[in-house]
């Protein structure tokens, strides 16, 4: 019995000790999820910081993205955020939703951190009401990357794919399909990644400035869906059901290339026997739209800070993200690409990449990143995304575009009127 009582007491002591994670304790706790990616990057930052500040304890915990979200919801609902870490990683697309829904959790770091030279399009994801809440981690800049051997078989080079518009892309796609039988792209059915990439390249998003949903009145949205449907119908873009199948089309060479966030390079370069067969360039732009560019974004994440914690210490630690050497060191192991422009001076960025036949692809991507138009995400990003996915699926299966978009807009407006 005595043993039981003492065990119980010890347990309560342990619990009350760990409860003080985010308190002003001179320690920095970090929640992040991928050992080969953001955890590895934070470990490098930790080493660099501890060289100058050996007394600061930095604890990096592996917590899955969904779990970070659930824990924030739980802590905020319980009204006790002392269990949250000083720094957490958040998906860019979720950032605004969480900052708007749980304003008491996240610290406003405007004016406390120097944001010059960070890509504007990237910063916009974690800016709410003109206030900065996040420090960018990696770029989700979109790249068009294609198999040069397939292009050559149809008589094209990577230069033919550079700075083009979607009409030219369709032309090339039809020609390539006729000559090699290959589709240009693949995408997951029901997912709207490609559609949103195309929209953002024009600086358009699913929402207006005032946060209202923008499908039926958006020419960009309609044009994009029309192009997408044409590509699906002509077999220039094939739709697959799962993410694994999508990755499969890239690794087994059943498509010419892909248009996606630059993090897809990890998957592509993982197939070593295709080394030297790939080339990388920007993406096509929408014809007839004034604001159209050849640059866009898909995915990525940012670091956010818990309110009432060691914010100054945490931000001092985060100076690593304004350091060329840091970005240079994490690039080869993590392939996380900087959104901070000076990083492209690093030797690993300027060096040619063997897989891409000696092209300095990473410096190229940092250049693209600076040109990406900003995107409105807002709190209802996922509501809108799902509604648009439903509209797209039905439209491809023959439903009327206008009425599908009106339906989707209704669905989102419904969610907004909660």
């Amino acid at each position: 019995m005595k043993k039981l009582v003492s065990l119980f007491l010890i347990l309560t002591m342990i619990l009350s000790c760990t409860a003080a994670l985010a308190a002003e304790d001179g320690k920095i706790t970090i929640w992040t999820w991928d050992p080969n990616f953001n955890i590895a990057a934070m470990n490098v930052a930790k080493e660099m910081y501890n060289k100058d500040h050996p007394d600061v304890e930095i604890i990096i915990e592996e917590v899955l993205s969904e779990d970070v979200e659930t824990r924030v919801i739980t802590a905020a609902s319980a009204g006790d955020i002392s269990n949250l870490p000083d720094i957490m990683l958040i998906q860019d697309n979720s950032a605004q939703k969480f900052i708007l829904s749980y304003p008491e959790v996240y610290a406003d770091i405007t004016g406390k951190y120097d944001f010059t030279d960070f890509a504007e399009g990237k910063l916009a994801y974690s800016i709410v009401d003109g206030k900065n809440y996040g420090v960018p981690f990696d770029a989700g800049t979109t790249v068009g990357t294609y198999r040069t051997d397939y292009l050559e078989a149809a008589g094209y080079t990577i230069d033919d794919m550079t700075d083009i518009d979607w009409d030219r892309f369709l032309e090339i796609g039809r020609d390539v399909k006729a000559k090699t039988g290959m589709p240009m792209l693949s995408a997951q059915a029901g997912a709207v990644d490609t559609v949103l990439i195309m929209m953002q390249s024009c600086g358009a998003s699913m929402f207006n400035e005032d946060g209202s949903v923008n499908f039926t009145n958006s020419d960009v949205c309609k044009t994009v869906l029309e192009y997408y449907k044409t590509m699906v119908q002509e077999g220039i873009l094939i739709e697959v059901n799962t993410w694994d199948e999508y990755c499969g089309t890239l690794s087994n060479g059943s498509v010419v290339g892909t248009i996606n966030g630059c993090w897809i390079l990890g998957t592509i370069m993982g197939v070593e026997d295709q080394s030297g067969k790939w080339a990388l360039t920007n993406i096509p732009k929408l014809p007839g739209i004034e604001t159209a560019t050849n640059y866009s974004n898909n995915g990525g994440s940012s670091w956010v800070f818990t309110n009432g914690t060691d914010i100054d210490l945490a931000l001092d630690f985060m100076q690593a993200y304004r350091n060329v050497d840091f970005y240079n060191e994490i690039l080869p192991t993590t392939s996380a690409i900087a959104t901070w422009a000076p990083a492209k001076e690093g030797s690993n960025y300027t060096a040619g990449n063997d897989f891409y036949s000696g092209d300095a692809i990473f410096a190229k991507i940092v250049d693209y990143t600076a040109k990406v138009p900003a995107n409105q995400t807002g709190a209802f990003y996922y509501d809108a995304r799902e509604a648009l996915g439903t509209a797209l699926t039905n439209y491809i299966n023959g439903a009327d575009l206008e009425s599908e978009l009106a339906n989707a807009e209704d669905t989102v407006n419904f969610a907004m009127g909660f």
């Binding site: 969904e66 979200e69 659930t70 919801i73 905020a76 609902s77 009204g79 939703k97 708007l100 829904s101 749980y102 008491e104 059915a189 029901g190 739709e239 697959v240 059901n241 799962t242 199948e245 709190a379 209802f380 996922y382 509501d383 799902e386 996915g389 439903t390 699926t393 039905n394 339906n407 209704d410 669905t411 419904f414 969610a415 909660f418």
Partner: protein
């Protein structure tokens, strides 16, 4: 008015009876309190939440109070999810229960060899995790998956079916998955019920010239009525709360055509902008549906 006698006035408060009943209450209280605190109180809280709206940490009562419930009627996705769930219910539950009874009566045959082996085989799917089997079904039914390969190879199909991307076939896949996963589970209940039926009844029936089918419909099924009632209530209850298959097998797609009510509630809470009040309201609607359906069944099924 009768006057109390002095003796009864002086009667001690702690009589034997009271002591015993107090002891009883003492034993009951901890468990009862725990149930109230951890089960009933949250249910009341959830109901109150279902009457509220606003940011997750600043919920306020709706105006009018039943606003969240009223909203459901005009929510197309919710109505779609109810339709989907009832489609599964109406098609899957009867097929599954009939199959379970057939398997059970086959395996109840005393002369059958390797009975234990067959029983284990049919029960085995229940030992697999819901998520695990959903993922496996997803892989089996992909466009270039095993099912298409087998059907093409054996000449049944001339071109592959895009199982997961066509509303009709996606529903079929979910129903096949459910039947595979749950038939064995229900079969076990029927088997144990059949063990309780006296073997001599069958012998008597056979002497009277009843064939296998007649034995099944005239003896087994009537005597199994209480168990059929239990299994069908459990199946209906389970199907109304269907979640794992919708999330992992079809992701609710294509275009919300296979999404279930629970999946939609989850989305409202965790993937979309969190709307606690509306999600709680939808959960209560499921609760009411389960209660009503079970009540009907009890009325229809219980003929004692």
């Amino acid at each position: 008015m009768t006057q109390a006698t002095p003796a009864s006035k002086k009667k001690r408060f702690w009589t034997m009876e009271r002591k015993q009943s107090a002891a009883g209450w003492c034993f009951l209280t901890p468990a009862a309190l725990l149930i109230v605190i951890f089960s009933f109180w949250p249910m009341i809280q959830a109901f109150l939440t279902s009457l509220k709206r606003g940011l997750p940490t600043r919920l306020t009562y709706c105006e009018p109070l039943w606003r969240n419930y009223e909203r459901m009627l005009s929510d197309k996705v919710f109505i779609q999810s109810v339709t989907n769930t009832f489609t599964y219910l109406i098609i899957q539950v009867p097929i599954m229960l009939v199959l379970a009874i057939i398997f059970a009566s086959l395996l109840n045959n005393k002369d059958l060899k390797f009975r234990g082996l067959f029983r284990t085989c049919i029960f085995l799917p229940c030992a697999t995790g819901l998520v695990a089997y959903s993922m496996i079904f997803r892989t089996l039914f992909t466009y270039d998956g095993m099912v298409n390969a087998v059907l093409l190879g054996s000449g049944i199909l001339s071109e592959p079916i895009n199982w997961l991307n066509e509303p009709f076939y996606a529903k079929v896949v979910i129903i096949i998955g459910l039947i595979w996963r749950w038939t064995g589970y229900n079969m076990v209940f029927f088997l144990s019920g059949m063990q309780g039926i006296e073997y001599s009844i069958y012998e008597a029936a056979r002497i009277d010239g009843a064939n296998q089918f007649q034995q099944l419909t005239k003896i087994t099924i009537p005597l199994l009525r209480p168990i059929i009632l239990v299994t069908s209530i459990m199946s209906i209850n389970g199907t109304l709360q269907l979640f794992d298959e919708s999330v992992n097998l079809t992701r609710g797609g294509p275009a919300n055509m296979t999404i279930t009510m629970s999946h939609y509630i989850y989305n409202t809470m965790f993937t979309k902008n969190p709307n606690f009040g509306y999600a709680a309201a939808m959960s209560f609607v499921i609760l009411i549906m389960v209660a009503v359906l079970s009540a009907i069944q009890m009325k229809v099924g219980d003929k004692r």
